[in-house]
């Protein structure tokens, strides 16, 4: 009956959508060339626009070498390392809501996180397993780059940035290891920092600076917390940016072999 009365919802809807697309608000948000302005039609130009009109996607070039998208060449290891870094940032921020880096409060915070906080245990698990996995993927990424000879000119500098990123990843993992403040964390860190004490000449000073005292204590917790949640992420984001930028500057992905 609605049909006979000439009620055409599809046309009406199309009209409204069209009006919306023409509105000043819509046009000021979606700039010319955006696929959201006029819809996505599969054309070479729109495929390019998808990449160019997105802040995140335009880390990629519009086109890449065909061999570079072969899974067997990169195994996605670099991208997955980056994804894990994002995942760790998100889960880490969630954990920060419920965590105080204070020796008197930290352990009860950990217990509350696991028993009282919604998804607290799951997010903590994600953060911990994600961190271990990231160490592995970064390491394997380095191996992949070596075996494909991707560190050779003109990519020597990016290899160095990559080694720095590997070290930063290890430092992030190691500083995070102390934060639960349980027997496992404290003694693992004790063993780890005992090794640094053996540095020639400055060994004791290095250990003192890292621990905030001669042995692990409240200062260590605060210090490593700050390193873990602020300082090292800040540094690693800078180096990740340089790393990605250099990939493009050095002519995209390496190879084919």
């Amino acid at each position: 009956m609605a049909k006979s009365a000439g009620w055409k919802p599809k046309e009406k809807l199309a009209e409204r959508v069209d009006e919306l697309h023409q509105s000043q608000l819509w046009r000021s948000i979606f700039r010319p060339g955006s696929i959201f302005r006029r819809g996505y039609a599969d054309s070479p130009r729109n495929r390019a626009y998808v990449v160019m009109n997105s802040l995140l996607y335009h880390l990629h070039p519009v086109k890449v070498k065909r061999h570079g998208i072969k899974l067997s060449y990169t195994l996605c290891l670099g991208g997955l390392s980056f994804f894990l870094f994002i995942l760790l940032t998100i889960t880490g921020i969630y954990l920060m809501f419920f965590y105080r880096p204070d020796v008197g409060a930290v352990y009860s915070d950990m217990q509350n996180l696991q028993t009282q906080v919604s998804f607290g245990l799951l997010v903590r698990n994600l953060h911990r397993w994600g961190a271990h996995l990231m160490v592995i993927t970064v390491f394997l990424h380095m191996a992949r780059v070596f075996y494909t000879g991707a560190y050779k000119p003109p990519r020597e500098f990016n290899w160095i940035v990559g080694v720095i990123l590997l070290l930063l990843t290890l430092l992030l993992a190691f500083t995070g290891y102390l934060l639960p403040w349980d027997q496992l964390a404290v003694w693992a860190v004790t063993v780890g920092t005992e090794m640094m004490k053996n540095s020639p000449v400055v060994g004791d000073q290095v250990q003192f600076a890292l621990l905030g005292g001669p042995v692990i204590g409240p200062e260590t917790l605060l210090r490593w917390y700050t390193l873990h949640v602020l300082f090292l992420p800040f540094i690693i984001v800078i180096f990740i940016s340089i790393h990605f930028w250099r990939v493009r500057k050095d002519g995209g992905i390496s190879g084919p072999m």
Partner: protein
């Protein structure tokens, strides 16, 4: 006064007579056409022939313009090939005073060295991004399932008077801790890590072989694999084959003294 198209033909002929490469000749001719179209309004403008046309990697980003300022240009702005010349031509005089933006600086030599081998290229969207997205989803699912099933360890509150036996470093340092059994602490804890780090940094400068083919670089692969394997073996021994007092055990006899 010659029409812009005549200027184009004339400059093209001149360039060809000079023996310039076809790419350079066309781009200079196009630039001349643009200048002719603009008339003698602005002779002080920088020579547009230095603007990017087919400058290899720069072009894609350089021509990614902000068309909001020039609505007419949106139509005439396809991707990598959008030359400034075409943009100006399509502007149909709607904007009288053009503000030139520096899109990219391309050295003259860079334009003439357009010798990149033609290569089979594919669009990142959808070919690469779809693969990346699937990889991301798989890892996300695996890690979420794993996290739902296996809980991260949380032992008792830290107690500095009670040393657990054995005390182990985080797993990525267990290779070094294992080395402590064999070498003086200064060697295992400081010298070896320093040498490894410096060696990694220096790898591209030590390995001067330009080839990336595995057949040409057997030595590099063997050396690298040797170090990787050694470290993996040391780490695995440290993880599973070290028990109380960090003494050697077999995990199938005494159990595993290791936590992630």
């Amino acid at each position: 006064m010659p029409t812009p198209d005549e200027v184009f033909e004339q400059v093209l002929a001149e360039e060809q007579a000079k023996g310039s490469s076809p790419v350079v000749a066309t781009s200079r001719a196009k630039a001349a056409r643009v200048r002719a179209e603009r008339g003698s309004k602005d002779p002080n403008k920088p020579d547009p022939s230095t603007a990017p046309r087919k400058a290899p990697a720069a072009a894609a980003t350089a021509t990614e313009e902000k068309p909001a300022a020039k609505p007419a240009a949106a139509k005439a702005a396809p991707v990598a090939k959008a030359a400034p010349a075409r943009k100006a031509a399509g502007g149909n005089g709607a904007v009288p005073e053009r503000v030139q933006r520096l899109l990219a600086v391309v050295k003259p030599e860079a334009i003439q060295k357009v010798e990149r081998q033609p290569m089979d290229r594919v669009n990142v969207w959808p070919h690469l991004m779809a693969a990346e997205f699937v990889a991301l989803l798989i890892v996300l699912i695996l890690i979420t399932v794993f996290s739902a099933v296996v809980d991260a360890p949380l032992r008792q509150l830290a107690n500095f008077n009670q040393t657990p036996n054995p005390s182990k470093a985080p797993w990525y340092f267990l290779g070094l801790q294992e080395l402590l059994r064999y070498f003086h602490p200064q060697v295992a804890g400081v010298t070896i890590p320093t040498v490894i780090i410096i060696g990694l940094f220096a790898a591209p400068y030590i390995d001067r072989n330009p080839s990336t083919r595995p057949d040409d670089r057997k030595l590099a692969i063997v050396i690298f694999s040797f170090f990787m394997l050694t470290f993996a073996v040391l780490t695995i021994i440290g993880m599973f084959f070290r028990g109380p007092g960090f003494n050697f055990t077999f995990p199938w006899n005494d159990g595993i003294f290791f936590e992630l």
